[in-house]
């Protein structure tokens, strides 16, 4: 079994920076008052777990994640540790270092972030936290983005929790919404700082709903809301539908309304997608995803379309990395969402 010596990786990293500095012809590592050369930037350690399987799908996913990481570095410069997990073979760990640099718009100084790529077999997943710990940038937050959701349930994954200020998952593709939400609710109930990109995808839609009720006339009628209907496509009700229903119920109950919840699956192939949310009371409010990231909000038949940024990994992670503290709204929602998905709450399924 091959292994990684963290000290050697750090040494390689130092050598990499010395080389970049020489190339730039400017030995400084900090901004100071130098206006040219290279700036080494780091505000956190971002650990990314990726599947490294043979096949086109895995390669595309890895490329997509790589693009997201490159874009993220501009707003959240970090020491990125990318862990490529191979499904089989002897337990092994390998590492290499590189830097990503870019020139900010209108500036003359390049900003560079460092990346450490670790290749490991899935059998060695339990050894990865021990390698990550000495490689993490000191005194800075550490965030784990675990792209394959299936790793979340593995016992070896537990080793990341003590390191991470935040673990980012994506339950959007989970075929079993009830199991995914129950696991997430249980992790949060035990004090782990976990977030779900399936919830992050709802932010703009939730914001649209909130915006509608900024109108004092509609706000005054909130307590008259009697029902919420959530339509989705696909063969099963998606996680996002349960999140949205749980959130709406919590919000409405806090305003004195006690709505019924109804989930309508419109069928079709592929993974489920949230389509329309209807909020019924004295006013009829509907928010529909029309196409891509274009939403139509309808209030009593009056329609208004809004084009929102696409839900790329970059956009979603950017939002999550901007929130390093607790997220009380999510924490309050996930438990109810799990109960709705499991049929333990009325109005579910």
């Amino acid at each position: 079994m091959s292994a990684i010596v963290p000290q050697k990786v750090l040494h390689d990293l130092a050598g990499l920076w010395a080389g970049i500095d020489r190339q730039a012809g400017d030995g400084s590592e900090t901004a100071g008052d130098s206006s040219t050369g290279v700036l080494r930037a780091c505000t956190m350690t971002l650990v990314v777990l990726l599947d490294d399987q043979p096949g086109v799908e895995s390669a595309a996913a890895e490329q997509y994640a790589g693009e997201a990481i490159a874009l993220l570095m501009r707003e959240h410069p970090s020491r990125t540790i990318v862990v490529h997990l191979r499904p089989s073979g002897d337990p092994s760990l390998e590492a290499r270092v590189s830097a990503q640099c870019w020139m900010p718009f209108g500036k003359t100084q390049q900003i560079c972030c460092e990346q450490i790529d670790i290749t490991a077999t899935e059998a060695a997943l339990g050894d990865v936290p021990g390698v990550v710990l000495p490689l993490a940038a000191p005194d800075l937050p550490l965030v784990v983005w675990c792209r394959p959701i299936r790793l979340f349930g593995l016992p070896a994954f537990a080793g990341f929790y003590p390191l991470a200020g935040k673990v980012i998952l994506d339950s959007g593709d989970c075929p079993d919404a009830a199991a995914a939400l129950t696991n997430l609710a249980s992790a949060i109930a035990s004090g782990k700082r976990v977030c779900d990109l399936a919830w992050t995808r709802l932010t703009r839609r939730r914001e649209l709903i909130a915006q509608i009720f900024e109108n004092p006339v509609y706000l005054s009628q909130v307590s008259t809301i009697t029902g919420v209907k959530i339509r989705s496509t696909g063969s099963a009700i998606p996680v996002s539908a349960y999140y949205l229903a749980a959130w709406l119920r919590q919000c409405l109950e806090s305003a004195g309304a006690h709505p019924t919840l109804e989930f309508v699956s419109e069928g079709g192939a592929g993974r489920g997608e949230l389509a329309v949310v209807e909020i019924n009371g004295r006013n009829q409010v509907e928010v529909e995803l029309v196409e891509g990231a274009v939403f139509e909000a309808r209030v009593d038949g009056l329609a208004h379309r809004t084009s929102l940024p696409a839900f790329t990994d970059h956009a979603l992670l950017r939002e999550e990395l901007g929130l390093m503290g607790r997220d009380p709204v999510y924490e309050a929602t996930v438990g109810l969402a799990a109960k709705l998905a499991s049929g333990l709450e009325p109005g579910a399924r």
Partner: protein
């Protein structure tokens, strides 16, 4: 159970949702002017690009030039594309934004113009559902502020279905009396709470960050007083001259143009007491208290604690630069200060005896705005000569360019022996946060639309600043200076160095 926001909207999620600003119309008086083209429209466009404005947002530009809405849109398109800073121009975003741009020709002194504006605002309120909210922005000559306010009041548009606010650009008067007169004229029409006096320095990210740095961290505030700080230097240097603004500038001068407003506000932010809350009223109360605590100089103190300067011609690099008196539109015998330095003291327990040195000038060696806080040297120097003339710790807040914070301290040089060398620990906005910071005008316009006056100047603050500056201006107006007294490209008159030397201090070189 979810916490319901103070607004009462149970769906709000303040951690994740952007701050919502209401629908409104911004009416810009002086819409054909430089400020509108260079700052206001680029800032509003950028806010639209960031989706921070509501869908019905509208702008009505007013100036004397006859122009159609379409011509105005085309002119503004060119300006935005030209002056947009640190961001690309997006044609698609512009197309949507431009549908909310309107123009009307009008004279600030003509009541009929305001009647026309009233009609236009009613139309916009109906077609764009602005709820009757209007932000009036006076980007005109300061002499027209009072007339514009009266015109707005006379046409009955200072009140309406929604809120009505007035944004006023500096200068807020040219002395204490005129500042009071201006406020009185504005208050005939608008309540003080609806008057937003804009000081774009307060909108700069780094100036706002002073509050975060001081009051969001535990380690600095205990040192932030006369026991540990020997003095503070505030520098706002420009490398350019008056750039075609000679006739305006010779009426203002650097003391009135920079120190009375921007730099005293920066000083107040550096020296104010912590506010109990981040509520606009509370923060502004503390700023105001500090400004009112600035020691007002007597005439004999002015001579010792202030320096006026004016740049003369010089060759910088391979270029011959004219002196101020040779600039277009400037009186060849002008006595205007293009450089001003002053030593201020704050009469309170925290700062008694600590000099705040402020300097600003044109045609200095570089464009830089910084605050330097110099801490006391160690009480005993155990390293003697090995310390290499040990320099005290210095905390530098860089406002522009390359916004950030640096801490200078001594470190042992590698190798045998114990030789010390100053080193720097740097925080740089660009590298830590990436992306771009909003311009000061983006921040301030958004705040005004949202009704957040934290970063705006209140009448009592303006008056306190004038109270500190007016005695200096009065002495200077009586005194014959031997101008020009510094060359283009220099760090100001020698007298400025002597002013610090009297207390054993030296200006740092930014």
């Amino acid at each position: 159970m979810l916490e319901v926001m103070s607004s009462g909207n149970p769906f709000q999620d303040p951690i994740r949702f952007e701050r919502r600003v209401p629908e409104c119309t911004v009416v810009i008086f002086g819409a054909n002017g430089d400020l509108t083209k260079r700052k206001l429209l680029p800032a509003l466009y950028r806010l639209a690009y960031e989706q921070r404005l509501s869908p019905g947002f509208a702008v009505v530009g007013i100036s004397r030039t006859q122009m159609t809405d379409d011509r105005f849109r085309e002119n503004m398109r060119e300006s935005v594309a030209k002056y947009l800073e640190d961001a690309p121009f997006d044609e698609e975003v512009w197309t949507g934004f431009a549908t909310g741009l309107f123009y009307m020709a009008g004279d600030v002194n003509d009541p009929a113009s305001y009647q026309g504006l009233a009609t236009r605002l009613r139309d916009i309120e109906e077609t764009r559902h602005t709820g009757g909210n209007v932000l009036f922005y006076l980007s005109t000559q300061p002499s027209q502020y009072a007339a514009a306010a009266r015109g707005i009041g006379g046409a009955g548009i200072a009140k309406g279905n929604g809120w009505r606010r007035l944004v006023v650009e500096k200068p807020f008067g040219h002395d204490l009396e005129s500042a009071r007169s201006l406020s009185a004229a504005l208050h005939e029409v608008f309540d003080e709470r609806d008057v937003y006096r804009i000081d774009h320095y307060l909108g700069k990210e780094t100036v706002q960050n002073i509050l975060a740095f001081r009051f969001g961290n535990g380690i600095f505030e205990p040192l932030w007083n006369r026991r540990y700080i020997t003095h503070v230097q505030i520098t706002a240097a420009e490398s350019i001259g008056v750039e075609g603004r000679g006739s305006y500038y010779q009426e203002a001068g650097s003391l009135r143009d920079m120190i009375q407003n921007h730099l005293l506000q920066v000083m107040a932010t550096i020296a104010m007491e912590p506010s109990a809350t981040f509520h606009p009223g509370s923060v502004r109360d503390e700023r105001s208290k500090l400004l009112r605590s600035i020691h007002v100089m007597k005439p004999d103190e002015v001579a010792l604690n202030t320096v006026a300067g004016q740049y003369g011609p010089a060759r910088v690099g391979a270029t011959s630069l004219p002196g101020f008196r040779e600039e277009p539109g400037v009186d060849p015998a002008s006595r205007t200060d293009t450089y001003a330095a002053a030593t201020f003291f704050v009469d309170n327990w925290r700062w008694a005896g600590v000099p705040f040195y402020i300097r600003t000038g044109k045609r200095l060696p570089k464009r830089v705005s910084e605050i330097a806080i110099q801490f006391n040297a160690p009480p005993h120097d155990m390293f003697d000569a090995n310390g290499g003339g040990a320099r005290p710790n210095l905390l530098i807040v860089r406002i522009q360019p390359e916004e950030g914070i640096s801490l200078k301290f001594l470190s042992k040089q590698p190798g045998s022996g114990m030789k010390l060398r100053p080193v720097s620990m740097d925080f740089n906005y660009g590298s830590s946060f990436g992306g771009r910071s909003p311009s000061a005008y983006e921040t301030l316009l958004l705040d005004a639309i949202a009704g957040d006056a934290t970063l705006y100047t209140r009448q009592d603050m303006v008056e306190a600043s004038w109270a500190a500056v007016e005695p200096i201006a009065a002495v200077w107006s009586e005194r014959q200076f031997d101008f020009p007294n510094y060359p283009c490209g220099g760090w100001g008159p020698n007298a400025a160095d002597e002013m610090l030397a009297r207390r054993g201090h030296v200006w740092r070189t930014p």
